[in-house]
């Protein structure tokens, strides 16, 4: 566990100020300490034989084996191993995968969810994929979600925020073997609040005589760089409207936009909730995740989520949708498909969540928008800057 991590609050330097070691320790050492080893948990279920008894009810997934837990927010004991307690405040990118065996007597949709208590609120879970199970093969739900934890530091505390991976499936025992098992990853990506907008740190060499360090240099090179890295562009929006998608014969080169109107977080105000367009505020590599969720028609057959990218780095600069793959869907039921890519974007490039559905009877796909028993599966887009 890193020694006494803290969230730096970089100072503003004034002309003539003496650069002293304690100030640099507080701002630079603290930033390197936190971001070099950010809160990170990765775990698997490898020994538990976890049964699901209730059809379609989200069940907390036991994570009995830790790969890494550098802030000690998780324990492997059976009483608490489903839960990761926040040990440090901030936004966390959570990713889960849950394999479900082939159904024998009854097969229904298989879904993965990320849930928990955020910022002292009520327990909620948020769906990732929800797709038909198989009678012949393992099915696997995957999910991603940004979660905010502000009440932190007390493992097991009733007032502490926490995160749980859930699975929704038919009665079975989850698959866990040497090659395939439930996995949960939780990693800190951003402070709960910070300064924006800033530019990507240039990290210049320090001036050598006769040049000298100025307050402007210190503010740009130390304060702004640390503030940017602690609070980079991170956005998540969820679908909140009421609309449907007509059947298409095949995934088009540019998919239909799914605008997400409900803001979860947007540190740089980069997503337009009306147009559904994320515009990169700074250049870099962005983690992008999209999930398309809704109710299929009576002949619902196929579903795909995509990311429509307009960038000179892709398709010669023309808008093009990078699809997450076409998957089968359950008829007359809630289904959700996902796509996940890391995209190199220049400032001003755009990313849009896109959807495709095919229905042999031409029925529409109606987006779900309100949380509820099945409404946990809502379309959403996550974009987070990761690298220059």
């Amino acid at each position: 566990v890193p020694a006494t991590p803290y969230l730096p609050s970089p100072r503003t330097w004034i002309p003539g100020e003496v650069v002293k070691a304690p100030a640099l320790r507080a701002d630079v050492s603290g930033t390197v300490q936190l971001l070099g080893t950010p809160p990170l948990f990765a775990g698997q279920q490898t020994t538990t034989s976890q049964g699901i008894t209730s059809f379609g009810t989200p069940v907390a997934v036991a994570i009995d084996t830790e790969l890494v837990d550098n802030y000690g927010g998780h324990q492997t004991g059976p009483a608490s191993n489903t839960t990761y307690y926040g040990m440090f405040p901030g936004w966390y990118l959570c990713e889960a995968a849950v394999p479900v065996p082939a159904g024998v007597s009854s097969v229904g949709p298989v879904g993965a969810l990320i849930g928990g208590v955020q910022n002292g609120g009520a327990l909620r879970n948020f769906g990732g994929t929800l797709l038909p199970g198989s009678t012949t093969a393992t099915s696997m739900g995957v999910a991603a979600k940004l979660m905010l934890m502000t009440r932190t530091g007390v493992f097991g505390g009733s007032a502490n925020d926490y995160i749980v991976s859930y699975v929704s499936a038919y009665p079975c025992s989850l698959v866990n073997s040497a090659t395939i098992s439930p996995v949960l990853t939780i990693r800190w990506v951003c402070a709960a609040s910070g300064t924006a907008p800033l530019t990507v740190p240039a990290n210049p060499a320090w001036p050598a005589p006769p040049a000298y360090v100025t307050s402007a240099f210190m503010n740009a090179t130390v304060r702004n760089a640390a503030e940017y890295l602690l609070y980079p562009p991170v956005a998540e929006y969820a679908y909140s409207g009421s609309a449907s998608l007509a059947s298409q014969s095949a995934p088009p080169a540019v998919g239909t936009t799914v605008g997400c109107g409900a803001r979860i977080v947007d540190t740089y105000g980069a997503y337009n909730s009306t147009s559904g367009v994320f515009t990169a505020p700074v250049p870099g590599v962005y983690y992008c995740y999209g999930c398309v969720a809704g109710t299929t028609g009576s002949n619902g057959a196929y579903l795909a989520a995509g990311l429509t990218v307009t960038s000179a780095n892709y398709s010669g600069g023309s808008a093009a949708t990078l699809w997450g793959g076409v998957t089968a869907s359950q008829p007359s039921a809630v289904n959700a498909a996902a796509v996940r890519r890391r995209l190199r974007l220049s400032a001003g490039d755009t990313v849009v969540l896109a959807a495709f559905q095919n229905n042999s009877a031409g029925g529409v796909f109606t987006y779900t928008s309100s949380p509820g028993a099945s409404g946990n599966f809502v379309s959403r887009i996550i974009v987070a800057w990761e690298s220059a």
């Binding site: 995968a97 320090w206 090179t221 076409v326």
Partner: protein, 401 residues
């Protein structure tokens, strides 16, 4: 601003027809620096010039675009301690032309450059030789790293009179004063180089220079990325100590630079690949989008960890044929070896569609030992997609020490 530093640059030009010149690099050259030699000649229609360099093994750009109305050739290498000693002693390297003629060359050195990712992207196909014009048309490139050092190389040639004055593209600073050959024996040549710090990655657009008079010309644009720092220690900032600027580079610049760059590998499969039913098939990534730490091995289709720590690996696989379950996986080999299946779906899609799935996992990797392969699996034999919008992909990001 860039971490790349110009050590020095000099131009050399023959006064009369000659088959060789001796060039020297700046005395400040250090081991690990990037050494560049750029040669150009004229005489259109009679020969395509080529050069060799003695005194060290230089890589050379074999690019048909560099011949035509004139000829040019690029050489580069990573400086060794012997090169540094040569530079300090003023020991020259001999550049030899295939034909005795008037020709010019430049020797340029940059410090603080990456030893694993020399050019961003590799320069093949990015040069151009143009017919007589006042515009030195140079195609743009698409660096994937921010804060590269851009190097613009240009020349002009004329069969009569003196070479024109070369003006580099806007924003570029000459790295040395233009050099020009004598006149008369063969077409005269003028040669120039200019640099600019790039603020961001992404397409540069065409970077055209200009001439004071219409002449045959050519050019090449390079992006030289800065060295990537290794894992930083938490800086201590000792009190009561009189630091030098280099101490702050170690305490501040290096760790913050390291934190600014997280993504270490991205690749796609764009040409398709068969997958045999029921077997874990190593995906033969054919398009490396970025690999600044040079971990990619194109023979084993694996990526070797350059730094010890925790990495997130994301794999997306997309199949042309449906009606089978499909899966994405990664195989970690090294200190601990295992295959991890990341996702699996019952594939969907009628004619004209395809199946696909994506998953991610965080794994520990030991520098120089552990390597990752992307894996595809399918219930029925199939092929991975080869269409834009449905390429399979792998992305590896360093997430924690």
């Amino acid at each position: 601003v860039t971490g790349v530093t110009l050590r020095g640059a000099a131009g050399f030009a023959t006064a009369v027809a000659s088959s060789s010149q001796q060039v020297t690099f700046p005395a400040s050259l250090q081991a690990g620096d990037t050494m560049v030699i750029w040669c150009a000649a004229g005489k259109p229609g009679l020969f395509s010039m080529s050069w060799t360099v003695s005194g060290g093994t230089f890589a050379s750009l074999a690019d048909s675009a560099l011949t035509g109305a004139g000829s040019a050739q690029l050489f580069w290498r990573t400086a060794t301690s012997s090169d540094a000693a040569n530079a300090q002693a003023g020991t020259p390297y001999t550049v030899t032309a295939a034909v005795s003629a008037l020709w010019a060359c430049a020797a340029i050195a940059y410090g603080g450059t990456s030893s694993t990712y020399r050019f961003d992207p590799p320069p093949a196909g990015s040069a151009q030789v143009n017919p007589a014009s006042t515009a030195v048309t140079v195609p743009g490139i698409t660096p994937v790293r921010a804060f590269d050092q851009l190097l613009w190389l240009g020349f002009c040639t004329t069969a009569s009179g003196s070479p024109a004055a070369i003006t580099p593209p806007a924003g570029f600073t000459p790295q040395f004063s233009q050099v020009s050959t004598g006149t008369g024996a063969t077409p005269a040549v003028g040669l120039a180089a200019a640099g600019m710090a790039a603020a961001a990655a992404g397409p540069t657009g065409a970077q055209d220079g200009s001439l004071s008079a219409a002449q045959g010309n050519g050019g090449l644009l390079l992006a030289i990325p800065a060295a990537l720092p290794g894992l930083p220690a938490i800086p201590a900032f000792p009190a009561g100590y009189g630091p030098a600027p280099g101490d702050f580079d170690t305490w501040v610049q290096a760790p913050l630079t390291w934190l600014t760059y997280g993504t270490v590998f991205r690749a796609e499969l764009e040409n398709g690949q068969p997958v045999t039913a029921g077997t874990y098939t190593v995906i033969q990534w054919d398009t490396i989008l970025e690999d600044p730490y040079a971990g990619w091995n194109g023979s084993s289709f694996s990526w070797l960890a350059p730094l010890t720590g925790w990495y997130e690996i994301t794999v997306t696989v997309q199949y042309s044929v449906t009606s089978a379950q499909v899966a994405a996986a990664v195989r970690l080999s090294g200190v601990y070896s295992a295959t991890y299946q990341l996702s699996e779906y019952t594939a969907g899609g009628a004619a004209g569609m395809w199946g696909g799935t994506s998953g991610a996992i965080v794994l520990p990797m030991v520098a120089g030992t552990d390597f990752i392969q992307g894996i595809a699996w399918a219930g029925n034999s199939t092929t991975l997609r080869s269409s834009n919008g449905s390429y399979s992909s792998i992305e590896i990001t360093y997430v924690s020490q």
